[in-house]
Symmetry: C2
Subunit: 245 residues, 2 copies
């Protein structure tokens, strides 16, 4: 299935080689093949990874490595991040089953990234900010924290099952790559500071709100060009605000 081939599993700062190997096997079980690692933690055991990958060793061998999460997802239209915590700007998280059709539809045109955080701490706020979709895997309140490779399996499984019954939307337009989207958000951040809509203290918080609004539906390159233009014009206008006495 071509759509599955366009979905990239991104493991951010993984600690245990064995978990990454298990994730490779889970990926191959479910028809995925693209693995990206972001700066594995010191002491990461390559032999454990190869062993646990079992017959999926090629996925591990063919992995890409990146220094930062932003670089790992730079070319990806949709970026979905997993988190099992609630709280601020996470209440729009959905289950893997709910997101699967949206991810498959995007994967027809653009690489799609699925982000998983480190075994101990999960994804950071900076990682989550890069995400257009948040995924919360259903789990029991008695023990919410899933093993890393298990999380990969459940997401991969839902995509594989959904792909079997998948019918793409008729009208579709390619999603904007992450790098261009981030340029736009950086420009808006500065513009909103310039016009005094927010301060340095509140900027991170406010920007998560804007990110959420702009991830409700697809965001194409043309959309982002318009948003870039609006931000530029806003900055131009801000130059005319009289300085405070």
């Amino acid at each position: 299935m071509e759509t599955l081939a366009n979905i990239r599993i991104v493991l951010v700062h993984p600690v245990y080689g064995g978990n990454v190997g298990s994730a490779c096997r889970a990926m191959m079980n479910m028809g995925l093949s693209q693995l990206a690692l972001v700066a594995p933690r010191p002491g990461f055991n390559m032999q454990d990874a190869a062993m646990m990958a079992c017959h999926a060793g090629d996925i591990f061998k063919n992995r890409q490595e990146f220094a930062t999460t932003a670089e790992a997802v730079a070319g990806c239209g949709l970026v979905a991040g997993t988190s099992n915590r609630g709280g601020l700007y996470r209440d729009h998280a959905k289950t893997p089953r709910e997101w699967a059709p949206r991810l498959l539809n995007a994967a027809l045109d653009t690489p799609v990234a699925l982000l998983f955080g480190a075994e101990d701490n999960g994804l950071t706020l900076d990682d989550l900010a890069l995400c257009t979709q948040l995924i919360r895997i259903p789990s029991s309140d008695a023990y919410k924290s899933l093993n890393l490779a298990m999380s990969v399996m459940i997401c991969a499984y839902e995509l594989f099952v959904a792909a079997g019954a998948f019918e793409p939307l008729e009208e579709r337009s390619p999603e904007c790559p992450s790098a261009m989207r981030e340029t736009m958000f950086a420009k808006w951040r500065q513009a909103l500071l310039d016009i005094g809509f927010m301060t340095d203290d509140t900027a991170d918080h406010m920007m998560l709100g804007l990110r959420r609004i702009l991830s409700r539906g697809p965001l194409t390159e043309k959309d982002v060009q318009i948003l870039l233009g609006m931000a530029a014009q806003t900055q131009w206008a801000a130059q005319h605000i009289p300085a405070k006495p």
Copy 2:
């Protein structure tokens, strides 16, 4: 959820302690708690199991152990077995998602067993014969074989998700326990041999067919009493068959 508490994960002749520990964690993540082991393979590493169970160590500690699969499921109404092979008398296998409501409904009244075979060979034909339901986990043709703990996770996850949206059937009757059902099948096996419906050569094959027919819907104790009576009467009749010259 009470229904989940009534579902027992049965691992038959597991080889690796680590896999059993990972299965315990997956179970607790998904609200399951009953673990049964059937004669772990020599060399099974208890320390690995406890370590990989992580915060689910109590599930491993509270496990039950049995010498045979039949004993492990003797008290269970529904017995569901996982297999990723196709072939004879397995074409009625369904996915974990399809079976989940049936399993939850049975678990309202009776213990339900989910069987998983050893890492190397899976469930034997004898194990599968004990099953009223066959489960086939969807997976890619490129690599069909899932890690043991991963298989447990996917089944547990589907049950957990289904339990959240589960509405029991209005009219329900308790399912017959496995031990009584096996007595009935043994009696029918002898009766069908006695009347010459099958021979020792073909008996295993034919009995799988009968098992399949009688696992299409619920089979209550009263149903099984009737079937026992029919078998007894068939055997009585067989006594009157003239011996071949």
